[in-house]
Symmetry: C2
Subunit: 349 residues, 2 copies
């Protein structure tokens, strides 16, 4: 929709996106990575900004008074590189608006999630970004959210009646990884997926099953390691090596890059050739994937994009469209990154 | 020294340590990990606390009024697990005093270090902890430090005339790693140490050279990889494999666990037995060391202890001993962690 009352409120990123007929992500790219956007699209977005009088650099100055020029970010686990990527993206998103970012680590404990919401309210931040892993915590977080302090949830899909949110589509990621194996010629696939309490891993497995079900003549099997670290991948790789050597398995989708790296290490030690004898795809695009003797094909989580879009939604909300504010729930697709552990595909998608 | 004016100011952790005749670290352990402290030492520290009227849980309530109940932490690089450990330790240290922790990521850029110091002052924190990698930034940071907001520097040794600080002794870590190789029987050693611009790596190399110089009949050689990641270790391992197989090298000290993991991976692929043919020690005690088919002997950085002691020094300073406050510079020793890539030692130290 076009802006409702251009004289009363400043145009938002969402207004620009609507007028230009593009996604919020495209507007974000025009602001931050213009080289990534086709020239014609960039022109359209920039024209929309001009027509609406949208001036990104002055977001900060139009924020409600009485707050510090800072945004709070509560993450579930700073040891997990996905959350560090989210923090980096959030930082670049708030800097765009002339704000700074303060981070807190909740360890996914609900009492700390609530305590840090109060802390940031007390520090008079402009708003709070918060990653949420466990759907069971949502009700408590919604209760603890301080009134008047905008809250955007990350890595979690929240009801738009309550909050803006930015989430990642793990089932799509599993599907894309499995399609890539099938299109590169694999027919006897295995999903190495960690324990059932990890929801993202469960979702990646659903994507695997969907891709298998769609494709006659392709078989899919699930192997469940103890956890999703390199040593678990090594153990699984040692167990699978004989069957790979007999030609019973020709494609492996591992639910994490650490798992995939351990599997590559074990199969290489058993003189199995990758990707000639077996192709392998990991998940996360973290250091374990690129920093490997054979760099690993993987699915990249758009962590920085989650943080950056979350920061933009938060600033839109904080600029005071108040009760008229419409919450958004953004679901981002992960991206396949092809490296040395898979063959080039023989079919388009 | 004993507390100067027990009626005017609350006793500090330093007062307790002085009276009990133990280190600040021991007092910290009595408060946080009493099971790690010998019963007789614990008794002595607890008696000192009673005599002085030291009550750790009320630190927060005695802080100057007008501040939020939070401490700011500025770290150089959230992608580096050492800084995540420091953040975890700082969190536990401020929680001990009933405070919360807000983190900011400076990317080791001096203009961000200064901007975040101002941000935390604006957020009215009780004080700021800050990691500093580059001695060249110190003067700018000292200028930017807001008056009236205590600042403690971490992973850096600051002049006690200006700030409290907690640093780690990397030269000692290199020495301890090399002594362990010598004591387990190695005589022809190699230090695989990254580029010269990394000061901690340079310091670890100095410790290596000192241990070699002390020990007649032991030779030491330095190999410089491009960087300190796993792929750099793999390349180095491939290059060293022939010489190891010929018996020209029987011990390797790698400046990071990722380097060590890549070397282990390359030598294993060349059918070299670890630790029988060659013993290997890494550095950092991060996931690359423990999450490996052969868990890697390493030197653990006391990151959590750096954060926790820093938080305690900061709270001591914030409790208002004002101009009488005496700054401390703590230098912590790293710890050898013996795992599967070295043999048991044959000599005591």
């Amino acid at each position: 929709m076009p802006p409702k009352s251009p004289h009363k409120q400043r145009p938002s990123v969402g207004d620009v996106a609507t007028l230009a007929g593009v996604s919020l992500g495209t507007v974000s790219n025009v602001l931050n990575h213009p080289d990534k956007v086709a020239a014609s699209t960039r022109d359209r977005v920039e024209r929309a900004m001009t027509m609406l009088g949208y001036v990104p650099n002055t977001v900060a100055r139009s924020l409600q008074s009485g707050t510090t020029q800072s945004v709070g970010l509560i993450v579930s686990d700073l040891s997990n590189s996905l959350f560090v990527d989210i923090a980096r993206g959030a930082e670049s998103g708030v800097e765009q608006g002339g704000l700074t970012l303060m981070i807190a680590n909740s360890d996914a404990r609900v009492e700390r999630e609530s305590a840090y919401l109060r802390m940031f309210a007390q520090a008079r931040v402009t708003g709070v970004l918060m990653t949420l892993n466990d759907a069971a915590h949502f009700a408590a977080v919604a209760r603890a959210a301080p009134p008047g302090v905008p809250l955007v949830l990350l890595n979690f899909g929240a009801p738009v009646s309550q909050f803006c949110s930015v989430d990642v589509d793990n089932a799509l990621g599993g599907y894309v990884a499995t399609r890539h194996l099938i299109e590169s010629g694999c027919r006897r696939l295995v999903f190495v997926g960690g324990p059932h309490e990890l929801q993202p891993v469960v979702d990646r497995g659903k994507g695997f099953q969907r891709a298998i079900a769609e494709q006659p003549g392709v078989s899919g099997e699930v192997v469940t390691p103890d956890w999703i670290n390199r040593a678990d991948g090594w153990t699984t790789g040692v167990e699978l090596a004989t069957r790979v050597a007999r030609g019973e398995i020709d494609g492996i989708f591992a639910a994490s890059d650490l798992l995939a790296a351990g599997i590559v290490q074990a199969l290489s030690a058993a003189s199995i050739r990758i990707p000639d004898d077996v192709a392998i795809v990991g998940y996360d695009n973290n250091q374990a994937a690129w920093d490997s003797p054979v760099p690993i094909t993987t699915v990249a989580q758009p962590g920085e994009e989650v943080g950056r879009l979350g920061a933009m939604l938060l600033q839109d909300e904080a600029r005071g469209d108040g009760p008229e504010h419409t919450h958004s729930a953004i679901l981002l697709p992960p991206q396949l990154v092809v490296r040395g552990t898979t063959r080039p595909t023989t079919a388009g998608r």
